[in-house]
Each structure stands twice: as structure tokens, then as C-alpha cells.
Amino acid sequence: MSRLVESNPFVEVATHFFLEDLADKVGISGLNNYLIGLAKTLAANMPEEEWKEWGEFLTALRAGDTMLSAFEEITTVTDHCIVTRHSPFERGWREYTKRVGSFSVAHKQVADFYNKNVKPTAVNSLHIILQTFRAAAATRVNVGGKVVRYAQVATVWADGQRMVAGDAERKDLLIRAGISETKLRMLLRDNADVWVLWTD
């Protein structure tokens, strides 16, 4: 797959308006369901993957050769802790704020709904898509005969807003990631996402 060509941010701005129009029609919980369904469909449309061992998978992950890194440039902090430097949605959002104005409140409202009902790691609507996509995509990736599992540790948006997994879950995830709380806070200074991949 390697690195994809960059999208035209206008298409993303149009999609934001598409989602805002949808929110007017189906409400915030409806939009949340829609975004989750959308991300799952996207993952289901991508071919399944199998890798012999974790090392081979990590090499593919770093090179953008797996669906889990198809849309974002990632680096691996440890064998299981992955960070995304810039959100794949940042260009579209910047174009929106530059050309249109401040982001519609619907994007925040749906994230609040998601944080309350699913997991408290979304700053806006786009993170619902990204995090649901990663979770659904991971189930389609096999490493050494085992299904990959994914969890979001923390999210930082371009404007500095951040959401971090709850205390109990975070403790467990940091052990899986092989990093400390201090290291996590360091990573959050200049990265958009911190996430964990592992197999049982």
C-alpha cells in the first residue's frame, strides 16, 4: 500500500458539511451511530491481512503497508505503543477553519456522546471515525495466527484539546504499551494520538 497521495482538503471540508447536515436530520446519537457504521464499513472494505510474526507486522506498520497505518504516518515508541504525529484530519480541519470559520458544534457534541457512551478518547467527530476504524481494522489483521487488538490511550487535537483513557483502563494500557505515565505525558506534547496494538 505504502504512502497514499494526499487528499484535497476541499473534499474533507465538504464531508464535514455532509456530516453536519446529517446531524440536523438524525440528531447527535444518530450521527454517532452513523460514524461508527461508516468506520466499520470502511475497514470491512479493505482486504484482510496476515503476517508471520510481530516483527514483520511492525515493519509493515512503519512503512504504511498495513491498513492500520494506511491513512496516517505513525512511529512506534515500543513494540506495542504507536504514536501518530499529525492527525490525518488536521489538514481538512485547518482548511475548514481558514475558509469557513469555527468548527460546527455538532462535531464536539457527538464526541461528548461517544465519550460518555463508548470510551472517553474523542475530541471531535473525526476521532470516532478514526478510533472505530482502527478497532475494526485490527480484527482483520492476523499476526502469527492471532487477531490483533487495538486500544486508544490518548488523543490530542490540533488546538491542544486532549482526551485520555480513564484511570483504570489507562493503567492497564500503559503496561501493554510498555511506557510510563510520564512518558505518555511527554508523547502528548507533540503527537496527535497514542495507541496500543497487541495480540492475546
Binding site: S7, V11, E12, T41, R99
Partner: protein, 206 residues
């Protein structure tokens, strides 16, 4: 990834609301986006064209827009009342490539929406995004004045990823430009449109 997800969204929406439902949806989104971008006023065509070149107009959200300064539109008195503008690359092309390299083919809905639009409204769409695009530009043009006159936008020609071209049978006569001339423009551009002063009385076809 949002653009690739959008393609799935179109497919889903088309299954639920039909191709005509997607068209209505896209047109409403185009109107909403244009209305959020606000009004603009320019002293004359030179200042507007400089703003286009420097990416300061609402049209600039599409990416690099070129003013074809050799393609001025004149009225019956010989005054310039508009120009042709072009995009080197269709804004949806990167998305088509991204879909190709992640999930495979564009879904059937993309073609169906374009086809429905061509049959029911304006035979100019190459892909579903053209539907949004045309309405967006029309609405933006209404919000821009040049020398005090509001503009009107006419989509003239499009060229798709596979080489398919469309030249508007509806809009070309309105700007008085020969179809062969526009066909030649499509060798180098993927989307050609005209902006002209609303209500201008044009010269005969060139």
C-alpha cells in the same frame, strides 16, 4: 481517511435514499458551505483575478485555480464581463486514487449518482462529487460582486480519471465559446468553468 470514508457514505446513502436523494443531499451541502463562506466584493476583474491567483476567494478552497486570461468573455459593447477558470486536477482525483489503493474500486453509487444527475439535471458530471461542486460554485458566485455586479458560474467542461470528457450543451451557448476550443482546454485541465457578470449581454459565439 475522511475522503475514503465519504465514498462509503455515498454508497450507504444511495442505498437508503436513492441516487436522487444523494443529489439533493449534495446540493444542500453545497449551498450550506457556500453560505458559510460569506460575501466578497472586488473593484474589477483585475483585482478579482489577483485574488484568485493568490488563493483569497471562496473558490480557492478547491485548490489552485487558474484564470485563463486569454479567454475573456465580452459583452455586446466589447467590455469584459467574465473569464474562464480551470482546475488542472479534479479535486476528487486524489480520493479516487486513495480508494483504489486502500479498498479497491469506487462503489457503484458513484457512477449511479453522476448518471442520474446527468439525465435529470445537467449532463456534466463525471463523478458524484461534481454534483456538489457545481452547486457550491453557483452559490459562491452569487455572493461575489465584481465592479458592483454579482457573478454567475457556469460549469462548462469536465474530464475524469479514465479520460471521459463532458462538455456542457446547456452552458456553452451562454458564454459564446466554441466547443472545440473547450475540448482543447480539456487536454490540459480537468474542470473548466466560466464566471461572468449576472445578466450581461454577450457577443456572438467565437
Amino acid at each position: 481517511m475522511l475522503d475514503v470514508a465519504l465514498v462509503s457514505l455515498i454508497n450507504d446513502l444511495s442505498e437508503k435514499a436513492g441516487a436522487d436523494g444523494v443529489i439533493q443531499f449534495w446540493q444542500r451541502v453545497g449551498e450550506n458551505l457556500a453560505s458559510r463562506m460569506g460575501k466578497e466584493a472586488y473593484l474589477g476583474w483585475p483585482s478579482f483575478n489577483v485574488a484568485v491567483r493568490e488563493g483569497r476567494t471562496a473558490f480557492s478552497i478547491e485548490g489552485e485555480t487558474l484564470t485563463l486570461t486569454d479567454m475573456a468573455i465580452m459583452d455586446i459593447d466589447g467590455d469584459v464581463v467574465g473569464y474562464l477558470y480551470a482546475l488542472k486536477q479534479c479535486v476528487f482525483l486524489p480520493t479516487i486514487l486513495r480508494v483504489r489503493y486502500t479498498s479497491g474500486d469506487l462503489p457503484r453509487a458513484d457512477r449511479e449518482v453522476a448518471q442520474e444527475y446527468n439525465e435529470s439535471q445537467h449532463d456534466i458530471a463525471i463523478c458524484n462529487f461534481c454534483v456538489f461542486h457545481e452547486r457550491f460554485r453557483e452559490e459562491v458566485a452569487k455572493n461575489i460582486t465584481v465592479a458592483g455586479q454579482p457573478l454567475t458560474c457556469l460549469l462548462l467542461a469536465t474530464r475524469g480519471f479514465t479520460g471521459e470528457t463532458k462538455i456542457s450543451p446547456k452552458n456553452l451557448p451562454k458564454v459564446g465559446i466554441n466547443p472545440e476550443h473547450v475540448r482543447a482546454l480539456l487536454r490540459n485541465y480537468e474542470c473548466v468553468y466560466a464566471l461572468e457578470m449576472r445578466g450581461a449581454k454577450l457577443r456572438e459565439e467565437r
